[in-house]
């Protein structure tokens, strides 16, 4: 999973002319507006016949990627899933399998 470096063009470059007087920062730096990165090679897929909707996968997800749908079954938000496989390991009923996307 080699990550491509973002190429900064010359026009985008932050120069000394862009700094405010006294080097004041008007906006705080936070990670909220960032977009998620690459998708993982293996992603969890639920087998709805085996799932009992207990929610163990939901509480053990480190990235808060698993969300509850309207019908009570759980789904992974593939924008934030990193493919660690904890949900696959911790499911008591073996309802989650790690599959390749596509």
């Amino acid at each position: 999973m080699a990550k491509k470096l973002r190429v900064v063009e010359k026009s985008e470059k932050h120069t000394w002319k862009d700094t405010k007087v006294g080097c004041v920062l008007l906006e705080e730096g936070k990670a909220k507006p960032f977009e998620p990165g690459q998708k993982p090679p293996l992603t969890p897929v639920w087998d709805k016949d085996m799932c009992v909707r207990c929610g163990l996968c939901y509480i053990f997800c480190p990235d808060a990627a698993i969300k509850r749908g309207e019908d009570g079954y759980y789904e992974a938000d593939l924008d934030y899933c990193k493919g660690c496989g904890i949900c696959h390991r911790e499911c008591w009923f073996g309802a989650i399998s790690m599959m390749e996307e596509g």
């Binding site: 936070k30 998620p36 939901y58 808060a64 390991r89």
Partner: protein
């Protein structure tokens, strides 16, 4: 929020204060899992420090700051935990321990046990927790928030990169650490000890050590020494004196 005793994760609040785009953790990170579960027990209280992505006022101090002494030319670590409590302020400290500071593990040297330091320092509520037992962790964070004085919670967070194991084993290894009594779960309310999870039959320590590649160089004789040490510490805890 009062139904943690039922152990049903659907009754937990679904609102996430710990946003997934707010951290750059590796996959299967124990720290990210611990932070996310701890934030289920907390609520948005004040409007200051809204700038962080985590939506709850917090600071991230280092457990030890490097200070150079003038007499001897070597660096020593002074924990900031010792200096904060004397002001008499009520705060909640969460320590996420991934056992990375000690360097290469040796069978004779054990890590500095910060919960005992916090008890000696006079914290009102001290507890240890592990994200493999989520309802226990959430309950302890909530109790620490409600106590009058300062409280300190030591959270074991397995690290797939540093401990060298497969990322899907994160929760499993945390559970083994508790079942082998390497990391016992207990709480100390104004000086009196109580085990929150007490397994009647403990696992041998070898099960926990052999799952991780960082203990690969340990020999069988050294593992027996560790087992003796762990059993002695756990027997002290069961009697309620540490």
């Amino acid at each position: 929020m009062d139904k943690f005793g039922l152990y049903v994760s659907q009754l937990l609040p679904f609102k996430e204060h710990f946003l997934p785009q707010a951290h750059r953790a590796c996959m299967g990170c124990g720290v990210a899992l611990g932070v996310r579960q701890a934030y289920k027990a907390l609520e948005e209280t004040r409007d200051w420090m809204k700038g962080t992505s985590w939506e709850i006022p917090c600071k991230q101090p280092l457990p030890g700051s490097l200070i150079k002494s003038k007499k001897e030319e070597k660096e020593e670590i002074r924990p900031s935990l010792l200096n904060i409590e004397k002001r008499g302020e009520a705060r909640l400290f969460l320590c996420f321990d991934n056992e990375a500071v000690e360097g290469k593990p040796t069978p004779t040297v054990f890590k500095k046990w910060y919960p005992s330091v916090a008890v000696a320092r006079g914290f009102h509520y001290v507890a240890t927790a592990c994200p493999s037992y989520p309802f226990d962790l959430i309950d302890k964070v909530k109790r620490g928030m409600e106590s009058e004085g300062s409280s300190y919670i030591h959270i074991l967070s397995p690290c797939p990169v540093g401990w060298d194991f497969d990322s899907e084993l994160t929760v499993n290894i945390g559970r083994y650490a508790v079942e082998c009594a390497v990391f016992p779960l207990y709480e100390v309310v104004t000086g009196s000890y109580r085990l929150t999870i007490d397994h009647p039959k403990l696992r041998p320590v070898e099960h926990y050590l052999r799952l991780q590649n960082r203990f690969k160089h340990f020999k069988q004789k050294e593992i027996i020494e560790i087992q003796v040490e762990v059993d002695r510490e756990y027997a002290k805890l069961r009697e309620g004196k540490m």
